[in-house]
């Protein structure tokens, strides 16, 4: 739904955010990022604030199915899109998303702070690869995509893990990428 009509002097807007299938009507100061709207206004604290400058990926969510840094998106910019957070990835019966299960199986975390961002990012990344999008690690920008470790590392480079759990993160994503094939 569109934001209510504002004038150039209004510093807040009333808008509807659709998050994990549920519509929320909110009045938000324009300065509110999608990240802060999710955490502070909707109580969805699964999405984490790391650097708050688009450099670490902890805040990664899906908007319209695409992965984005929610810390650099103003909430008012996402008023017409479907937002999916880590809370929305599990099945309706609470069953884990395949990537969540793989992260558990492979012990792909230590402190866990980057994990929601890693999993949301990987979810969309697998879709990008399946759609044939090349990456900087691809030998050819016109050839088929094979998600080998260099490809996965490059495609996940926007998600930092300060504990250094990369080895097991790579293994978890590789497991799911293999199942998808």
């Amino acid at each position: 739904m569109l934001a209510s009509v504002t004038t150039a002097d209004d510093t807040s807007s009333e808008l509807t955010l659709v998050v994990n299938g549920t519509a929320h009507r909110l009045r938000l100061d324009h300065r509110t990022t999608l990240l802060d709207a999710l955490r502070e206004h909707l109580g969805l604290t699964g999405t984490k604030k790391g650097c708050d400058h688009g450099q670490c990926g902890a805040c990664t969510v899906l908007v319209g199915g695409r992965r984005v840094n929610s810390c650099l998106l103003l909430a008012v910019m996402t008023r017409e899109a479907e937002v999916t957070t880590i809370e929305g990835l599990a099945g309706p019966d609470g069953g884990l998303h395949p990537l969540q299960a793989a992260f558990v199986e492979r012990d792909a975390l230590q402190c866990g702070y980057c994990t929601p961002g890693q999993i949301c990012s990987a979810t969309a990344m697998l879709g990008e690869a399946a759609a044939g999008w090349p990456s900087a690690a691809s030998a050819s920008v016109t050839g088929p995509i094979v998600l080998d470790p260099p490809e996965i590392r490059e495609r996940m480079s926007g998600n930092l893990c300060r504990c250094g759990a990369y080895v097991n993160i790579l293994a978890a994503i590789t497991d799911v990428a293999g199942e998808a094939r």
Binding site: A8, T11, L74, A124, M156, S157, G158
Partner: protein, 329 residues
């Protein structure tokens, strides 16, 4: 962050009018750079005019055989486009070399062109900076300038332009389509950016209210044999130390056509025309590629901590042209 208004006009004319009529207004596209600068206090608009809903967001073939890329096309869609990947691999490679998957999904083509420098002094409001605060001085020459310019700088500013995409577009002779208070016009990419001189705060030739609506790349046979190489401090997700966009057409061992641009060495995406002039018609050999690089880099005025960029740029240029010559005969 300063409170601000937010508008979503229905068409470019209304957006242009909204920004033209208010000194503190700014266009907002993907927001990956502007929102960050607002958090840092470097930018403090009092009105954001969101143009994401009204900018062209498609890539279409032109009658001439090139491509017209809407300014609202997201970086990820540009790099994924089959026509870009096949016809202009240097452009796909440059976009993929920049930022992260998340940021490329947000960032637009128009916004990418107008990114602000990543010079540390520009981004730190506690420091002087002639670009951010005209006349306040530039600590970079005597301070941290390892990543800054070796070409095109001035005593007032040695900041570098951060875009990868723009380096490829410079090599490809792209033009920007602009609408503004004075009507529509077409600006070659080389004419879009200004060297800092004594006014580093004026980075482009755009006037208040001018809106980039698209970028057009001409048909270019040599672009099929093109590449982008980015040297950086990390393997991924870092700004360039030096980057090179190159396209090369070789026939009978001689250069028939060559396009070359260098990134992260100047305040603008640096089209290497002196090098191109040396290459024209010359043997496609490492020796001549080196002479071409030297001709371009003769104008370099490095600072103590970035003199390595001269050698680095030369080496990258020679290596890339050798590779393109091997693959493209």
């Amino acid at each position: 962050m300063r409170p601000f208004g937010y508008l979503t006009p229905g068409d470019p004319a209304a957006a242009i009018a909204a920004v033209t009529g208010r000194t503190g207004a700014a266009f907002l596209a993907g927001g990956t750079n502007l929102v960050d600068l607002m958090k840092l206090g470097v930018a403090a608009p009092d009105l954001l005019v969101d143009v994401t809903g009204l900018l062209p967001d498609r890539i279409e073939p032109t009658a001439a055989g090139g491509l017209r890329i809407g300014a609202g096309v997201r970086n990820s869609d540009l790099a994924a486009d089959p026509r870009v990947r096949a016809g202009y691999p240097v452009l796909a490679r440059a976009v993929l070399a920049g930022a992260s998957g998340q940021l490329r999904n947000m960032a637009t083509v128009g916004g990418n062109l107008l990114q602000r420098t990543r010079c540390l002094y520009f981004q730190d409001v506690t420091k002087p900076c002639n670009k951010r605060d005209p006349g306040s001085g530039c600590p970079a020459r005597a301070g941290d300038h390892r990543n800054l310019a070796i070409l095109g700088g001035s005593p007032h500013c040695v900041a570098t332009h951060p875009s990868d995409m723009a380096v490829a577009l410079a090599a490809l002779d792209a033009v920007a389509h602009v609408e503004g208070p004075a009507g529509p016009r077409v600006i070659p990419l080389g004419g879009l950016y200004r060297l800092p001189g004594d006014a580093p705060d004026r980075e482009t030739t755009l006037e208040r209210g001018d809106l980039i609506t698209g970028v057009e790349i001409p048909p270019l046979a040599c672009a099929r044999n093109s590449a982008y190489r980015k040297v950086r401090d990390r393997a991924s997700y870092a700004f360039a130390v030096v980057s090179v966009a190159a396209a090369l057409d070789v026939a009978d061992g001689r250069v028939r056509d060559a396009r070359l641009a260098i990134g992260a060495v100047a305040p603008v995406p640096w089209r290497a025309r002196a090098a191109e002039r040396v290459l024209a018609g010359r043997p496609a050999t490492a020796e001549w590629f080196g002479r071409a690089a030297d001709a371009e880099l003769a104008a370099a005025v490095p600072l103590p901590d970035n003199a390595f960029k001269v050698i680095l740029a030369r080496n990258v240029i020679v290596r890339m042209l050798c590779e393109l010559a091997g693959a493209g005969s």
